[in-house]
Each structure stands twice: as C-alpha cells, then as structure tokens.
Symmetry: C2
Subunit: 511 residues, 2 copies
C-alpha cells in the first residue's frame, strides 16, 4: 500500500479542527519550589501576620477580627493576626469551589490543580481591529469581546477585560455585567466599584437567574475584589464591598497584587511571603464572616522593572512567582486566581507571542486553577486587542495540551505496533493506531499557520496577527448569541439603567 | 525621601543591561513523567532492542555488535541486542561530558540537568535582513550568523545552522567548520557528509589547536551524526562516519529523529520508547568502539501533522516528548541533545514568538542539557533569520531566568525588610535590599520592549522584529572577531580549500 493510498483511505469525516483541549485538566508537573520551601514560606507569612500585622482602619472588619482574637493597635491602625486564627480559617475554607457558566457548558471546577485559562482586565485601551490604533475602551467592547470569547474553546471564562470608559462610574458596575453576560454564557467575573452597588448586582443576577435560590445554587457571576493595598493594608471601601459581596453570596477572588521591588520586597520569595500574608488575612476575615464561603486566593505577585519603577508583565520572574504561589495554595487545597499571558508589547508581535507562550506554559504546568490575563492583553494591563484573543486561544490550547501530558499505558507503549511496523512496511502513517490517535493525541491550532511556504505565499504571506484578524472579523460579524430571553431582557431594561443599545446586539450591526 | 530622590541616589554605575543569565543553570523542576514511567519506558526500549532489534547491513558495526553478543539475522539484516549489552554500555558511558569553547568563556559542562541553549540546523533558506524575503543560504551566512551568535550571551553554542548552498558537497564539511569557527569562539558542532571527510576535519581541528593533544584535551568542535533512520535502522554511510568520528576523538551527538505518527508510533510514549531504543543502540555501539567516549544522547522525537504527514515544529507534543526524553536521559546521568524553539511560522511574528517561548520554557525547565534549534529557526527546520537570533537570545535569557528559579533563604524571605517597610515609609523602591537585588534577581531583556506607549510611538512603533533587525544590522556591520591568528589562518588556507573570502572577514565588508 503506497502512502498516497493510505491517506485516501482515511475516514472522510475526520475532524480536522480538533483545536479544543478540555478545560480543567490537572497540572502540577512543574513545581518551582521544594516542599520544604512551601512550608517555610507559609510559616513566614504567618509570622508576618503575627509580628508586622495588617493596617486596617476602624471598621466592621476590624471589629470582627478583634472579636475573633486579633490584637488591635488602634493608634497605628495595626491588626496583629495570631497564627491559630489563620489556621482555623484554612480549616474552615471551602475546598470545593465551582464557578458556573450560565448554560453548564463551561463550569469551572476549581479543585486542586485543575487548570483554567481566561481573560483579565481592566484595560483602558483597545486596538482597533481595522486601523490597529489604540483607542479608549467602551461598553460595546465589553459586549463584543464577550461574543468573541464565547466562540473560543480554550478561553474558559470571561473576566471583565476592559473598563467601559463611556459609562459613568455610577452606572458602570451593572452595565459591565450586563454587557459581558449578554456576550457569552461562560462564567463572568468582574469588579464592583462601590459597596452600595453589590445589592444592584445581586438583583441583576437574580433577575437573570429567575430567583435567588437558582442563582445561589449555580452562581454564574463572581467578583474579584482587590481589598488589599500592598504592603499589608486593607482598603477601606473595597473591604466593605467584599463584606457585602460575601453576604450577598457572590463567590469572590481575594485579590492582592503587590509589585516586587515597589510595594513588596525585591526578593521574589519575599514578595511571595508578603502576598501570602495578605491573602491569608483576607481569607481569615471572610471565614469569620461566612465560613466555607466560595473564594479564590487572589495571589497576584507582580514585577516592577526596577530601572523605572513601572509594573512589567510577561517576564520570567512574574511567571515564577505566580507558579510558586499556586504551589503554596495547592498545599492548602484552595484554588488560586493568578496571572499569566501578560506582555509589555503594545502589539501582537513576536514579543507578545513569546512572553505569553512562556508565562502561560509555566503557570498552566504549575497547575494554577484560574489563570486570568491569559487572553487578549497587551501593554502590561493597559490594552487589549480583538485579534489577540484569537491568538491567545491557540496559545491556551497548546498550553492545555502540555498540561494533558504523556499517557503511559501498556497499549500506548506500542511494543507490538513497533514490532509490526519494523517487520512490515516500515511506516506508521497508515497504521490503525495512527488513525485512532490522530485526533486524540494531538492539538491542531486553529490560527497558527502550518501551511507550506508556497500555500502561505499564495495567501499573501499573512502573519499570525492578520490571520487572527480575519477570524475575529468573521466572529464579530456573525456571532450574536441569544444573550437573555426577550422577557428577561425586557425586565432587565426596566429595572436597570442598561446603556447597551439593542441595536448593536443583532446581525448587521457590526460594520 | 521622595521616590524621585531615591532614584537619583542609586549607584551611577548600575549595570542597566543585565541581560545575561549564566549558562549551565540546573533545570529539572518540570518533570513530565512519574519516576515509575521513566523506568517503564526504559524497560520497554530494551525489550524493543531484544525483540524487534535494529536493521543493520553487513558492516564493521554489525560485526562489532555480533562479537559482543548481539544476535544477527543476516537474511533480514536484523540485529537483536540483548539487554545486558545495553546495560553494560550504560555503565561504561561518560557521565562527565564538556563541550569546549575555543577561548574557555563558553565551555558547556553537560553534567546532569545543566541547561544550555543554542542554534540548530541545517536550514536551506535565510530571510534577507533588509527585504525580509527568503533566499538560499550561503557559506557567508555561516560566518555572519556565527559573528552574530558570538555577541549573544544567552546563545551558548553554535551548531551549524544553515547549509552552504553555494559550496560543492565535496568541499562543504571543512568549509562549514572553517566559517563557523571564524565567526565565533563558542563551541561549534556540525555534521560531516562523508566518512572520508572526518580525517580532514580532524586535520582542521589540529591545525587550529596547534597539535592533536591540545585539541583532544579541549575539543572545540563536535559532530552531530544522524546515524539512525527511523524506525530502528542504522544508516550505512553515517554509521561509518560515526565510527571514524569516534576514532578521531570528536565528541558526538548520536542523533535519532523519528517523526511521531510517520516514522514512529503516533502515541507519544510509543515514540519515546522507539527513540530511546534507537539511541541506546547507538550508545551500545559507541561504547564497544571506545568505552567512555564523550557523547550526547541525540533523542530528537519530532511530530508529524497527521493531516498532511508533514513534520511540524513548535508544538506541545514535541515539547512534551523532548522534555520527557531529557528526564529519561537524566535517569542515566547522560546529557541529551534535543530540540526546542522550532516554529511553523515563516516569519518572526506572534506565532514564532509563542511557539518558541512555550517550547524553550518547557525543555529548559525539564533540564535538557543541550537544546539546539533554540535560536534563529523558522518554518520548521527550513529557514533562519538574522533578527530571529536576536529575538531568541531574549527568549533564551528569559527561559534561563526561569530555570534559575526562586532562591529561598532566611535573608530572602525578608521578614525584617517587610516589617521595617510596613512600619516605615511603606515603599520598597529605596530599600537597600532592592538596590542590592535589582540586578541579581531580575533579567532585563535587551530587545523586548518595555518602554511606555508614548516613548515607543515616538520611536515609530517598532515591533520586536524591527528592534531585532536594528541590533542584528549593527552587529553585522561592526563585530568582526579575530577568528584565527594570521599565521594559523595562512596555514588553514594553504592546507584546505577554504572558500570564505578574506574580504568578507573585515569591517567595511558588510553593506
């Protein structure tokens, strides 16, 4: 049988677009720290909470911590949290956190080391898909990026990626969630600017779900709240928002994002100690508020370029710290909310590619459960690009294939196959094992180009950015998910100051 | 003290170009396989050698294996290698391999898990630095790429990257090594097309070294020989070249490069079993020829896109197999020669970036000792680009920073620093620890852009390719290393048919 014949004999219906890897594959084969070092860092962070403490102004939060046994130095607004309090919180914490999608297709089971990759925010610029120029981000971008993410199989959740710069801050929270949820049925996470707005978001969620019980059974919205101002200070207003969010039943990511060398030690492990102290303080508070509340440890150790003092994304140090933070949280069996896929580049070029490929691979292999920033971001956290979401989905798919790893079974070892082929025609292409595995064993990128030079040149020698642009354009033109049922949408528009025009939510609306 | 003051007080001599990571850092924190699976794969590969055997035609090699106890089935040219023979070879193998540089600045200590990244080959196309168009590679490219690599700190060796398409095959081996060695003092590895040419290469090496003893004490040239034709066949002529190379004292990389799904099983672990069987057969032969000869296990498991049957680089499956092969070789304490940094892209774009960033990170973290293809390559193995070498040096530097990992010491944990800062001015930028660590703890890319948008736009919004082009241009214009002493060069030109014109080897020669 010639090779040509063999190829012709392949099943016609073979799925050539096997460009989806299952979400939630278990990582952890990359371990940046020794187990003993994990224990040392944990211990050091508890020492920091006992010895240095956390700055918290007089507040309900401070009262709750004090009532539980923390020591308050009111003159200096310092709260010293004893080790046993943190240990009790760790015992009480929820180890079975799922962030739900609206339709159940993309539920995120965040138990230990199950890897998910998704968008991050909150950028203020978007590269225009046609001109390539940066412009301010708008509410419509939140909807349009949502629609795009809705079609990307290796982008597992939709964290509010941009700030709607065209919406008043008073109206922004509810409009952000409306636009994001209208764009995709995947889980939506976002911020909340004011404590007073939590109730409004809850009403939005309940209106969409039908009733409160339904929403609380499968919360499809969650809040990421940066209650921590590094080093070791609780932000007064965001802590109030956190309190309200927990009471309202929203799953929360307890975000602390210290900048190594600026708002945390320049030593990478020193930053890890501090960020763990910061999130453990938050964890302790939330467990006192509501034991077992679903939360993510939002350890977000970032890096400053110490020549300028500016935050920089997409570097080895950031990847190392995020992977290590994940390993520490794995020792608690608590899910981490962390960062990968950032880049300093302002455009989807080779720099963006390598900084993303490298950092996504590292945190995914480390088994981080909730990797945000893994889609669409450019210029640190300042900018996003539509075509970058498409590119990053291919990067994420490749990284998830890495996470899946190498299956070692008697059958996979292939001793009989090797013997048969070596004694036979000397080629595996037509072997039944090959036909059986060609889909299952391999990831086929949807946008990264594998054509011959000849075919590629015939197509005008497009770079990956151009190929991604073509895909993004087609999605934005054609993909308008149902969003909400008409009666639900009517109720939402009656009850809330929804700014997204129905006119942009249907085919034909996109230029 | 304000932030502005603090910055001014930094030492003036601070090295802002800390864009070099030490070579030979120890990897291995990423382990794609369980230890038990490593043992299973090893065992399976020995089974293959016993049961399926290797195809070797009547030859000195076959006679040597037979004399040592292998069973020869002459009618089918099959040689069955008993387990004890391979195990004896593994015991006899050299675990202390160093590949030398000519000046001692970049010696490659390849003991277990010491990571090195360098160029690979043998491409036939080069992207013209100015037009960006692909053209055939020439002898001068071998010299010019060598000069460029000579200046790139995170590119640790110079494996012949391109084929000199303008040189007759009869003259190509000696000319390739001459051009490469003239361009850089780093270790040079290359092929040898004919068994008869090994002696000529040896004379070249001895002429450069001064005498044979000096060369053998610090061999600065080595040969990568693909003696294995997958599945499980020794190439007659290359095996003769290998025999001659070992007898001449050249360190060798025993290369086997099966294509999963085409010349090896589609199952990743099946390909690992086969490639290990192939290189262990080579190892066994070389130990019989010369016990303890310095060699690298050239496990190069590659991937075919099973939709086309074409080899594809830069994917997760390739990275997984190369990392796993390294882990298996680490169990032997033998250095691996393997592959990372390939891409299917034809240009230095986002695809090239991510495929490189991801695969380099993975094999480096796995502790591969000799990662070739990690610099300059595009379009699988068909093309290279000058600017890509510059880009890849930044990727390699970032990956080496990953390998360096996180230092955990009492001092680095920073408990006192955290306490001091939190009780004091609340900022780490001016802290002595920060000043002390700002160089040591961080990698500063030389080409990846970290400027603000404003500064970047003022510079014409260059992508990384353009920034790399600028750097490559400057190096090619200005950097002409001494090459050989004039009297040595004269001797070389008398003794060998050197085709590289002296005119291209001095300033002013580059357009």
């Amino acid at each position: 049988m010639t090779e040509r014949t063999r190829r012709r004999e392949r099943p016609k219906h073979f799925d050539h677009t096997s460009s989806r890897q299952p979400p939630g594959l278990r990582g952890g084969r990359y371990r940046p720290l020794d187990d003993a070092d994990v224990a040392r860092i944990h211990d050091a962070s508890l020492s920091v909470l006992e010895r240095t403490g956390v700055r918290i102004v007089a507040s309900e939060c401070r009262d709750i911590l004090a009532a539980a046994g923390a020591t308050v130095d009111a003159a200096n607004d310092r709260v010293y949290i004893p080790r046993r309090l943190v240990e009790a919180a760790l015992r009480a914490a929820n180890r079975n956190v799922t962030l739900h999608s609206r339709d159940g297709r993309f539920d995120l089971d965040l138990r230990s080391r199950r890897v998910h990759l998704g968008t991050g925010g909150a950028a203020v610029l978007v590269l225009d898909l046609e001109s390539g120029r940066a412009r301010e981000s708008t509410l419509r971008d939140l909807y349009d990026i949502g629609r795009l993410v809705d079609t990307l199989d290796n982008t597992h959740f939709y964290l509010r990626p941009v700030v709607a710069r065209d919406v008043d801050s008073d109206l922004i929270d509810v409009n952000t969630f409306y636009a994001a949820l209208a764009g995709t049925t995947k889980h939506v996470m976002g911020g909340c600017y004011f404590p007073s707005k939590v109730a409004e978001l809850k009403r939005l969620a309940v209106t969409i779900a039908g009733d409160e019980e339904t929403f609380l059974a499968r919360p499809f919205m969650s809040l990421n709240l940066c209650y921590s101002v590094s080093p070791l200070r609780f932000a007064e207003e965001t802590t109030e928002t956190l309190t309200a969010a927990v009471r309202a039943g929203f799953p929360v990511a307890l975000v602390s994002a210290p900048l190594a060398g600026a708002t945390a030690p320049a030593s990478l492990v020193g930053t890890l100690v501090q960020v763990m102290a910061e999130t453990l303080a938050g964890l302790t508070y939330v467990q006192l508020l509501r034991p077992g509340h679903p939360l993510l440890m939002g350890n977000l150790p970032l890096v400053a370029d110490l020549r300028s003092g500016n935050m920089v994304g997409g570097n080895a140090e950031l990847a190392l710290m995020n992977a290590a933070a994940a390993q520490i949280c794995q020792s608690y069996e608590l899910p981490i909310y962390n960062s990968c896929g950032l880049t300093e580049s302002k455009i989807p070029d080779a720099q963006a590619g390598f900084e993303k490929g490298l950092t996504v691979a590292v945190t995914a292999l480390a088994g981080c459960e909730f990797n945000h920033h893994a889609s669409g971001m450019l210029e640190s956290m300042l900018c996003v690009a539509y075509e970058q979401y498409v590119i990053d989905d291919d990067i994420n798919g490749t990284a998830m294939r890495l996470v899946r790893g190498i299956e070692v079974t008697e059958e996979a070892l292939s001793l009989d196959v090797i013997d048969e082929v070596c004694r036979g025609e000397g080629h595996y292409l037509g072997h039944p094992q090959t036909l059986e595995l060609m889909n299952r064993e391999y990831y086929y990128p949807h946008t990264a180009d594998r054509r011959t030079r000849q075919d590629w040149e015939k197509d005008g020698s497009p770079d990956m950015r151009e190929l991604a642009r073509r895909r993004a354009r087609a999605v934005l033109r054609d993909h308008f998910p149902p969003g909400f049922a008409p009666e639900v949408d009517a109720r939402l528009r009656e009850s809330f100051p929804i700014a997204l025009l129905p006119a942009v939510m249907r085919p034909g609306s996109y230029p």
